[in-house]
């Protein structure tokens, strides 16, 4: 069953007589900046699959018209490429994404396009070295050329380990200052974690596709799904295990579920007296614990539909029973 037929059900709900228990419906946000007209958003390079050659016959044989897809670029700043590897760790799903929903029209690690083209979605990995003019130019160009900018991973979103950078290393000891991309450009969507899981990148890609190419209903779903990640982008560029202290425990919101413990990629969190204890000598400031905590954000409008949304994503990826 395709996306479209499933979605109707999502928004009407399966048991209309039992609307969700949300205290108040979360208002659906204004979508980022949904592009008005398609033509001008055309990528500089003709989209194909990951386009590594100019053999026309391959594109002719494609079943899905290329125009239906969105274009996604991967912009590598000062990161480790782990976020990109995580995208690739969708395994077969990577092909499903690229076959049906998105052309990867820029990605130095996977394709030969050397200049940042126009694209619908820029997945930016890594923080920006403000002492390196190439990096600064690239991040600005990514913003100008992309409809939606996603801070992919903790270095882009929060700086992560580059927060500790202070220069002094040969052969460029003046490379001292690294800032999260949100300190230089407006970022639409945050996808923190070091690295964000393959599934989370997949979900954002599918939702971005629905947001830009979907029906009104699909747009609404995608906007609702992406809203908390957009809010995270507005929340700021600083993160630390301390956020659990400041914004969850101190605020009287922590209930000791332990999600943060499972999330932390450096095992810096343990539970003491039913609350997380952060080993600040281990924490690398990735912000994953806070983002994953059910008491950082919990959007009932989306969460109450977890089963149906899960099915939609599975259907989109060609998995599931239907």
């Amino acid at each position: 069953m395709g996306l479209l037929s499933n979605l109707k059900k999502i928004f009407t709900g399966k048991k209309p007589e039992e609307p969700e228990a949300a205290p108040e419906p979360v208002t659906v946000p204004e979508p980022v900046t949904v592009p008005k007209a398609r033509p001008e958003a055309k990528p500089a390079v003709k989209p194909g699959d990951v386009k590594v050659e100019k053999k026309p016959e391959i594109h002719e044989k494609e079943e899905k018209p290329v125009a239906e897809k969105i274009t996604i670029g991967h912009v590598h700043m000062s990161g480790c490429t782990g976020c990109l590897v995580s995208l690739a760790d969708n395994y077969e799903g990577l092909f499903t994404l690229l076959d049906n929903y998105a052309d990867l029209n820029y990605c130095l690690t996977l394709a030969d396009v050397r200049d940042i083209p126009k694209m619908d979605v820029a997945l930016v990995e890594g923080s920006v070295c403000i002492n390196d003019h190439h990096s600064v130019e690239d991040i600005k160009k990514a913003r100008r050329n992309a409809t939606i900018v996603v801070a992919l991973g903790s270095c882009a979103a929060y700086g992560n380990i580059t927060r500790f950078a202070r220069g002094g290393q040969w052969n460029q000891p003046q490379h001292e200052n690294y800032v999260p991309i949100g300190d230089l450009i407006n970022v639409d969507i945050y996808l923190p974690a070091c690295p964000p899981s393959p599934e989370s990148i997949r979900n954002v890609a599918v939702m971005a596709y629905l947001l830009l190419r979907g029906t009104d209903e699909q747009k609404e779903l995608a906007a609702a799904y992406l809203k908390p990640l957009m809010d995270l982008a507005q929340r700021g560029t600083e993160a630390c295990g301390c956020d659990l202290i400041y914004d969850v425990i101190n605020q009287g919101l922590c209930m000791g579920c332990g999600t943060c413990v499972a999330t932390c990629p450096v095992r810096a969190i343990s539970m003491e007296c039913g609350k997380p204890n952060i080993d600040r000598d281990l924490c690398i400031k990735c912000g994953a614990c806070y983002a994953q905590c059910p008491r950082s954000f919990f959007n009932f409008d989306v969460m109450n539909q977890f089963e149906a949304i899960g099915e939609v994503i599975d259907a989109a990826m060609g998995k599931g029973d239907e």
């Binding site: 048991k15 228990a21 599934e199 209930m255 332990g258 499972a262 919990f298 009932f300 109450n304 977890f306």
Partner: protein, 287 residues
């Protein structure tokens, strides 16, 4: 509405008397996991296992029925079960994970599935999430005070604790029961519970609790396709005795009443938090 989406609701109890001997209510959680384990529906389950201190649970990954049996019974204190869901899929090598949790913990599991930023390869391995009803929870130090100071029972000698009919009860190994009115326990509640808007684990595959059913029986709600299927198979295999919920007392009416009370009270707390200070409020995670 306050009971969330569900497909079916029954009153039930485990068919196996060995399970019932030390389960909290109808032994639903233990029996259903045992069934799922035997059928290969799950490879193991995250449950509240015994900890270092008496009545202080620790999350464990149970991969045998014996381990599930060890973890029976409610411990009215925090057991961070979600802390183990990733490890269950890692060093334990599980592909199909069961997890039991309070409503908030089940919320955490669903968020980990829909927004799995830091939860690689966890979401699609959650094979059965059983939610237990929950009005509130207590930090260990709070529970200790309730049991040792107010009920005058050493934690070591407590064998069961229960909340019901307006009382907090502690049963000892020598057969004694010590009770205090529930209102004495309120001050020891975990503050984080006061913003909780879920009583019956709306997002679980199967939810269960005592309220609504007679003593020794449990109220069971099946909510998802997965939950419905597994529950159906377990019934078919004779793992549970069931009665229509309409036929038992106090039934869904009480459950709905308590759920409404909890949500109304906590929604009010959330509203008050919005204007807690002077032109300043406390954070609301739901908006």
């Amino acid at each position: 509405m306050v009971l969330g989406n569900y497909k079916n609701c029954v009153s039930a109890r485990a068919a196996d008397p060995a399970v019932l001997s030390a389960s909290q209510d109808g032994g639903i959680v233990t029996q259903l996991f045992a069934f799922a384990l035997e059928e290969g529906i799950i490879d193991g389950a995250v449950v509240a296992g015994p900890g270092d201190e008496p009545y202080k649970p620790e999350p464990i990954v149970a991969t045998t029925v014996a381990e599930l049996m060890e973890a029976r019974g409610t411990r009215y204190t925090i057991c961070p079960n979600v802390a183990m869901i990733k490890e269950a899929t890692r060093s334990y090598g599980l592909d199909k994970v069961g997890i039991v949790g309070t409503p908030c913990q089940i919320q955490a599991v669903r968020k980990a599935q829909l927004y799995p930023m830091g939860m690689r390869s966890v979401g699609d391995k959650i094979a059965l999430a059983i939610g237990i009803f929950c009005m509130e929870n207590f930090p260990y130090q709070g529970l200790e005070t309730m049991v040792e100071d107010l009920c005058n029972v050493k934690m070591e000698s407590a064998v069961k604790m229960d909340i019901g009919k307006g009382k907090f009860s502690v049963y000892t190994s020598r057969g004694a029961v010590s009770q205090i009115p529930l209102k004495l326990t309120h001050k020891f509640e975990q503050p984080g519970c006061h913003v909780c808007l879920d009583y019956v684990a709306n997002l679980a595959d199967v939810s269960t609790g005592s309220v609504g059913s007679p003593d020794g029986w449990s109220t069971v709600l099946t909510r998802t396709k997965k939950g419905e299927t597994i529950w159906g198979k377990a019934i078919e295999a004779g793992y549970f005795e069931t009665k229509p919920i309409e036929d038992v007392k106090p039934g869904l009416g009480l459950l709905t009443k308590l759920a409404t009370e909890k949500i109304t009270k906590n929604q009010k707390t959330l509203d008050e938090r919005a204007t807690f200070g002077v032109d300043k409020g406390l954070r609301n995670p739901y908006i």
